[in-house]
Amino acid sequence: MRLPRASVFSLMWPPVVFGVAFLVLWETAVAVFDFQTYFLPPPSAIWDAFRANTALIWEATKVSGLNAFVGLVVGTALGIAMSFLLARFRLLNDLMTPLAIGLNAVPIFVLVAIFNNMYPITSEVPRRLMVTLVVYFIVLVNVARGLSEVGAIQLELMRSYAASEAAILRKVRIPNAVPYLFTALKIAAPASVITAFVSEYFGGSQNGLGSRIVSNIALSNNAEAWAYVLGACLLGLAFYLTALVLERVAVPGGISAVEQVGA
């Protein structure tokens, strides 16, 4: 979707102005109230720490980013596969739905601790498993909805064309589920990053963004800890923007049908 220049500007200025004002307020507050660095470092100090540690932050970002990416890809693939099975077999759906709801009620991060016990201490597998699991449910729930929530009229039409179930799947259900998949990815992409570095809090190698944040806080290097938080923000943003760009490319008109109907 191509927007005229003026409209891009009118979309952009409120968040930019807000962001700048927020940073200025933060910087001023730290100076005026004389906050100690261990309490809240000013944005300028965080930026300096970020500049000074760019290489280290980049290394940590690669570790967490790869964990998030692997989990995102595997979780998405499994979620899509399972949603097709659910759409096909009603019984499976009846079995899976309570399980999915049940798992939502569990603080799912505790599973990392269990996964950690299953694998060697330096393994990245538990973290990737954790991301996979989180992404899997987000994708499963959304894509299953996309496959099943097809207009009654459209199904009647397909029957009037004597279309087989396979043809209905290919020509109606799958295209209908595509916008749902991208809605899921826009949620799952940043969630995968958050899950990847929160998983690092539960032990394992001290190499990712999450573990660096923890260790820097432990050493009272607050500005450095915040610099790693900034790195984590940028990583999450990169994942989200990638999902957004993929959606714009894949969905005709660049607006997901789900958003159009306001769902």
Binding site: G151, A152, I153, Q154, E156, L157, M158, R159, S160, Y161, A162, A163, S164, E165, A167, K171, V172, P175, N176, V178, V251, P252, G253, A257, Q260
Partner: protein, 273 residues
């Protein structure tokens, strides 16, 4: 050979259960090729059910339905009819042309032939310049024209329409009626048309079938001899008003008290493939 033949058909929803409803009883109706037949009646009279029986989207409880001389199921499998509903039911992810091509895809036509036919159909409904648009970029009336182009794409001899103009404003509606008559005239398609607008039924039809609820049945069949050429003048002619009055009086005899609104929707049941 008759375009549609309905013989002694009845339809009971929830048969054998306490909430059983006789949607249709003792329906006999023969439609010849080239006819334009409207089914009219209050909500719950079974007019949509009757259309769905002809389309084989639901099976009769008793009696038989023949389309093009074949059992309705065989006619559906052969795609002997096209169908249009109150909602255009276009596919948002397909361009206008691709929407029109859909029934042809399912018939296994090759790409070039599909494309050519779709463009012909869009010309017929006067939407050629919107071929590459997407449905949500079109107005309601334009969407409905695409739906008609799609329904007629395979050149079926029969067109089944369930209140196709019900969601349109009055002016668009009258324009669409003119267009529909032109299109059906050019393609010599037989039409079965469900409506609850009396002037619409009279303007379009060669015959108006008046139906009554509880149980759903045909109470009257009125021939509309306004000639094959109908235009703006037709709507202002005395003969037109006389027919409108005749249909209105036929409907007046019908007891409409206590009818549950949208009973037909409430009775929707899953259809076997």
């Amino acid at each position: 050979m008759n375009a549609v033949e309905v013989r002694g058909v009845s339809k009971v929803f929830n048969a054998g259960r306490p909430n059983a409803v006789e949607a249709l009883v003792g329906i006999d109706l023969t439609i010849e090729p080239g006819e334009f037949v409207s089914l009219i009646g209050p909500s719950g009279c079974g007019k949509s059910t009757q259309l769905r029986l002809i389309a084989n989207l639901t099976e009769p409880t008793s009696g038989e339905v023949l389309v093009n001389g074949k059992p309705a199921r065989a006619a559906r499998l052969d795609q002997d009819y096209g169908m249009a509903f109150q909602q255009a039911g276009l596919f948002d992810w397909r361009s206008v042309t691709k929407n029109v091509e859909l029934p042809l895809e399912l018939k296994g036509w090759d790409r070039a032939r599909r494309r050519q036919r779709a463009l012909e159909m869009l010309e017929l409904v006067k939407l050629s310049e919107f071929a590459d648009h997407f449905p949500w970029q079109l107005s309601g009336g334009m969407q409905q024209r695409v739906a008609i182009a799609r329904a007629l794409a395979a050149h079926p001899p029969l067109l089944l329409m369930d209140e196709p103009f019900g969601a349109l404003d009055e002016m668009t509606r009258e324009h669409m009626q003119v267009e529909l008559l032109r299109i059906c005239g050019q393609t010599s398609t037989t039409v079965v048309f469900v409506t609850h607008s009396i002037p619409e039924a009279v303007y379009l039809s060669t015959r108006v079938v008046v139906m009554s609820p509880r149980p759903g049945r045909i109470t009257d069949v009125i021939d509309v001899d306004l000639g094959t050429h109908r235009d703006v003048e037709t709507r202002e002619a005395d003969a037109f008003f006389k027919k409108v009055t005749e249909v209105r009086e036929a409907l007046r005899g019908i007891d409409t008290t206590g009818i549950e609104p949208d009973i037909e929707q409430a009775l929707e049941e899953p259809v076997e493939g």
